[in-house]
Amino acid sequence: MSWQVATVADVRRETETARTIVLDVPDWPGHLAGQHLDVRLTADDGYRASRSYSIASAWDGSDGSTIELTVEQVPDGEVSPYLVDVLKVGDPLEIRGPVGGWFVWKPEQEGPVQLIGGGSGVVPLRAMLRAHAVAGTTPVRLLYSVRRPESVIYVSDLKELASSDDVDVRLVYTREAPAGEPRVGRIDAELIEQYAFKPEDGATTYVCGPTPFVETVADLLVAAGHDPARVRTERFGPTGGPR
């Protein structure tokens, strides 16, 4: 697969530090929920930097050639500040994708789906929820860990998805909770016990977030008796990739 040029069709502010970019990609072949793509930036002297980003939208064939990325700005980052603050509607953007065949959810997959996201780790999980809303028949639960209420990406979207009988959304606040939510703190064994599917439910679990978050959650799941083979992880780092 090689690089191709997409065009920015729209941009949407999600939080103070995150933005959704709607891309128009000619001849988009379609993608599976959870896949990512690489973005490459080139300066006028030829200097390049590339990073991987999860695709936030699901593809059902009717969307034609439009996909969405949601990018969280990394302090002192090189690529994310450009994508969040500089890139504008009508600009070209080089992409390579969709790629990745492991951290994906397919509608024909059996068993419940447990999604656990930390921060912008919710992005590929949102694609899975979107795909599930169209074609899913199994129960889905999302545990979504954020610092504070203002950090929630896809607020209205999640509210809408959570109103479905199949979908259960539980937000976890690590720094500051909204009024009426007494719990402030990271995901722990008790929370997994309360809100995640049980090992005997046969769920496939998808965990996405910064490396330490994924590490902690994956360890909690295995300690709670979940089969490691049914826990799929996607870590992201502060820089997200070389060059």
Binding site: V5, T42, A43, A49, Y82, V86, D91, P92, E94
Partner: protein, 198 residues
């Protein structure tokens, strides 16, 4: 062929005293190609193996008993950051190799954790390289290569092997970890020798 991203400059714009294509940083970025080895100085050993197979060894006490130098140098990473006036303390390779009998032209540095990098032996001599064990007045942290790393500041910083455990001297040039994967065999930042063939 690609496109130019409108308004993208990258994290650069270093200034005239930097090698081409580098940008200035005041941080000390940590690059890692694997898990960080944590080597206790009690277990640390540095071995020079000559082309005839003769070995010269230093343990931590022997290394730190040797005359040390304070070193202030600019460093340049092939991932394009440069950091100016970094201060180190360590033992010159001139001191360590003074009594080593060799006619070899090349050296391969080996590290705890398995990393390797190749250098001409002459680039390790004449006040150009050190086994450094302090950075900025503190014992060198494991993430930056402690307890001791090779310091060869006139070449791209991948040549300054972290967690160094020895040198193997030879008559012919073999290639190290990055050099076998497309990076330049020598790596002079001022000639921008990043990749093989540059």
């Amino acid at each position: 062929m690609g496109i130019v991203s409108p308004g993208f400059t990258g994290r650069r714009g270093g200034g005239t005293d930097l090698p081409p294509g580098q940008y200035l940083t005041h941080e000390f970025p940590v690059l890692s190609a694997g898990p960080t080895p944590h080597i206790l100085t009690d277990h640390w050993e540095f071995t020079v193996t000559t082309e005839t197979g003769e070995k010269y060894k230093w343990d931590w006490a022997a290394l730190t008993a040797l005359p040390a130098e304070e070193i202030t140098k600019d460093i340049h990473c092939v991932t394009r950051w440069s950091k100016l006036q970094t201060t180190w303390k360590g033992v010159s390779l001139d001191t360590l190799l003074a009594d080593v009998e060799t006619g070899a032209d090349f050296a391969m540095a080996h590290s705890y954790g398995g990393y390797t990098t190749n250098l001409p032996l002459e680039d390790l001599l004449d006040g150009q390289s050190w086994i450094a064990y302090e950075y900025d007045g503190e014992p060198l942290h494991a993430e930056h290569g402690g307890p001791a790393r090779l310091l060869v500041p006139h070449l791209y910083f991948w040549k300054s092997a972290k967690w160094v455990r020895g040198l193997v001297l030879s008559d012919s040039e073999d290639l190290g970890f990055w050099e076998t994967a497309g990076y330049h065999e020598y790596g002079d930042p001022w000639k921008e020798q990043r990749y093989a063939g540059d």
